[in-house]
Subunit: 142 residues, 2 copies
């Protein structure tokens, strides 16, 4: 599991800060009002935990603090993706991508980039993906 572990509730906070920074706790709470019925205290607790985890930097500005992200959104998303892929057999990844594709709306340009990438990968793709699971954790023949 990754070190930079962000819980779902913390993730809500991070998304706000990734979008706008520097930002104060009050502003964060105001933005999240629409989505979560959190008391200001809750927002503060989550911010505090994120600071302790090294996800946010603080800078005192007069009476309030300004928060900034110390890890990028892309970085964090990629780690989530890694965690997801780690829990399934390598041979199932292709099928899973298909599932995602099916249930998502993807822009024309993204689809084009994906098509290009797939074309490129076809050249070196194996007939069968090698499974690296612990024997007994997938149905591949070892």
């Amino acid at each position: 599991m990754h070190e930079h572990q962000i819980s779902p509730a913390e993730w809500e906070i991070m998304r706000v800060i990734w979008t706008t920074h520097p930002i104060t706790s009050k502003e964060i709470n105001a933005i999240l009002k629409e989505k979560k019925e959190w008391k200001l205290a809750t927002t503060k607790t989550l911010i505090g935990r994120l600071v302790k985890k090294g996800m946010l930097s603080t800078e005192k500005k007069g009476r309030k603090y300004e928060y900034r992200p110390l890890v990028s959104e892309k970085e964090s998303i990629d780690e989530s993706i890694d965690d997801l892929l780690d829990q399934m057999c390598d041979t199932k990844v292709g099928r899973s991508i298909e599932t995602i594709l099916e249930k998502s709306v993807i822009s024309k340009s993204d689809l084009e980039r994906l098509a290009t990438l797939i074309e490129k990968k076809k050249a070196v793709a194996p007939e069968i993906v090698k499974c690296t699971c612990t024997p007994g954790q997938c149905s591949c023949v070892h």
Copy 2:
């Protein structure tokens, strides 16, 4: 968040049971010996929790119990994927798929199926994906 919440440690157990069932706690533990240094008691605790969560069925067979999965692996993986996608802006999904593709080995046949699916999606794909985020949680212009 989904009801069928499976923790990482529980996931290890489920993968064994999805692969082989019915199966006993001892057999599960033996299989996981290679990967996790769990005491038999740990395996039993996790099995117990999975039963309580309604993930496994039990059937007494002589002195031991046999476990069977009550949810399929695909179902569970799909829920994990949903949870992952739910925490990012819809406009970022394409890019994330690209990331997954880049870092994974995909078989020729899977790539082909993906290519076909992408071709099909291109026909109805929008120029720009509509963002449904809470304002302030992504950089899209609302």
